[in-house]
Symmetry: C2
Subunit: 345 residues, 2 copies
């Protein structure tokens, strides 16, 4: 079965992004393109994770709040269609917080501290012991998100697999407590696109590092980013043979240029010598300008009508409120806390 | 100012109990009697903490669910009046879980691990590193409870003071983030009643230890409990001088007998020799039977009409939902997450 191309039975897909910055080409290659395809055959929900975004930005909440509508505009601009994909806002779904509370009683602190993804994030953020409680426990909150939507398939990068393991552990604990299957385990959908490197070839793409090309990047920003791109540092003269592996310009050409044969010929010339970085960068720039221009234009149109973007979130959140409340009610039933449910309060 | 006797300005009081067992004489002396007085002059809310009860009972949730209505019946039986005191159920107030999520981003794991109350609880429960995340973080959830009701005064035992410190730290962080006073700090109301010892004089009272006298104890249970009570182990014959300090029978007589002069004379006789433990126990038993009988009777009447008890919780939770939702909205405003609030969803 290939979930991307569809199967007999549509999957329930939950995916999402922390709203901590506008989306960039890494998101486009790694997940957004896939979502556009998935929405055609599956039931897809995208969660704009504003609360998760706060777990390490509580002292700078504007970083989250100012990016919520940017992220929604990014979705619409790349072709995610709110009539096919439910787009909702995490902070609008109280059931997610309540589920997180219940699940928190089923997961130990030491289990959370063993999570390799969180471990490496803690190290990279320099948190050490001053890690916020909300950050250490965010895998529980993710489990709440996934189970609240009864998701069967979760698109992830390989580094996110421990999150799904954590979710499925909680699912098994809940089902064992209930003595029946109340929640279902989810499967990962690993993207086959390799992770796009940052323009400097060194770090993870991030806005603060200035090494990412956003979907809303201006013509000038694209030009500057491509010009500063990391190539082969030993390729000093045009006539020198150059290295293609690790050369960010070629990685981007592989990812974005539609004529694969042409890129293949360029690589050969580069390896043999006689192709300058200025030329390859010019080719890449044209390619990226052509690809990003219509996305940027659509994005700007969407951003010029904030009420419409809010409406997308309102509609999606309303639909998701009902779904997630139902799962919460099942969980409260297991814990015997539906005592008042016969009476509407 | 003496908050018990009233002051110019009524306080907003939040108090509550984990619903993990029926309430006993320790609760009666330590808090329930005080609440009956406080409700006359202050705005008092009692939170039945079912979700907090689960933080260390998730694998035995019946311990919580089966006790919710017992606890409400205990309240009503001792004279807590739902027309004066709001009685509500924690799991019915989603704002509490949401506030907990937001506050979790403002508290570090190491701060939680330094909490002396939680530290000693972890040790006494033998959790060590397999402590559930929900248990380590329950002081954050308590801060959510207290601030959600805008409580100014929180009745606590001395061992609970670190909880209020934790709450006030969160209050200050929130206010500093907001740049204005959004939440108010709370003050502790320390009970002047000394902690009532367990009947065996050794441990904290608990149902599982069989060393507590519940408010619903039968005549026979009271008799058995008093008979087995710890006295002076060196007071072997009636004519021997006996020790009053640490003698649980006398501690209970001090706490419950209305004729203080009579108890004083009994103590003198006991100290000089000539008063047997059988006699003091008989006196205490009569006193406790007389005191508990009407409470037990009222309790049984309340428990025979579960619909009425549920109604008390429904009414109280409905009123509290609105209040706590308002505080949540203020907190979401600070984090910039009221983006959809103009639109009702």
């Amino acid at each position: 079965m290939n979930p991307i191309q569809g199967s007999d039975k549509p999957e329930i897909i939950l995916t999402g992004d922390r709203a901590t910055g506008p989306l960039h080409l890494g998101h486009y290659v790694g997940s957004l393109k896939q979502r556009v395809t998935l929405q055609k055959v599956h039931e897809q929900t995208i969660l704009v994770a504003d609360m998760q975004g706060l777990t390490d930005n509580a002292h700078n909440p504007k970083k989250v709040s100012s990016n919520i509508l940017n992220v929604v505009a990014d979705y619409l601009a790349v072709g995610i269609d709110p009539s096919k994909t439910t787009i909702c806002l995490q902070s609008q779904l109280p059931a997610l917080a309540e589920l997180t509370m219940y699940y928190s009683n089923l997961v130990t602190i030491s289990r959370l501290e063993r999570n390799p993804t969180v471990k490496s994030e803690i190290a990279s953020k320099g948190f050490e012991r001053s890690i916020p409680a909300g950050f250490l426990t965010y895998p529980i909150s993710q489990a709440a998100d996934i189970t609240a939507f009864n998701a069967s398939l979760v698109p992830v990068g390989g580094d996110q697999l421990p999150m799904l393991e954590q979710t499925n552990e909680i699912v098994r604990k809940v089902n064992s407590l209930a003595g029946r299957v109340v929640l279902r385990e989810c499967k990962p959908l690993l993207s086959d696109a390799p992770r796009l490197p940052s323009t400097d070839g060194k770090n993870k793409m991030s806005k603060s590092m200035g090494n990412a090309i956003n979907l809303g990047a201006s013509e000038k920003e694209i030009r500057t980013a491509v010009k500063s791109m990391y190539t082969d540092p030993n390729h000093l003269r045009v006539e020198d043979p150059g290295e293609v592996a690790g050369n960010v310009v070629f990685t981007y050409l592989d990812a974005f240029h539609t004529d694969k044969a042409y890129v293949s010929r360029l690589k050969e010339r580069y390896r043999h010598g006689g192709l300058g970085d200025g030329t390859t960068k010019k080719i890449l720039e044209t390619c990226l300008q052509d690809m990003i221009r219509p996305i940027r234009d659509r994005r700007n149109v969407f951003l010029s009508d904030k009420a419409q973007l809010i409406d997308v979130l309102v509609q999606g959140s309303q639909a998701s409120r009902e779904k997630t409340a139902e799962v919460l009610s099942n969980i409260k039933e297991i814990f015997g806390l539906n005592i008042l449910c016969a009476r509407s309060i």
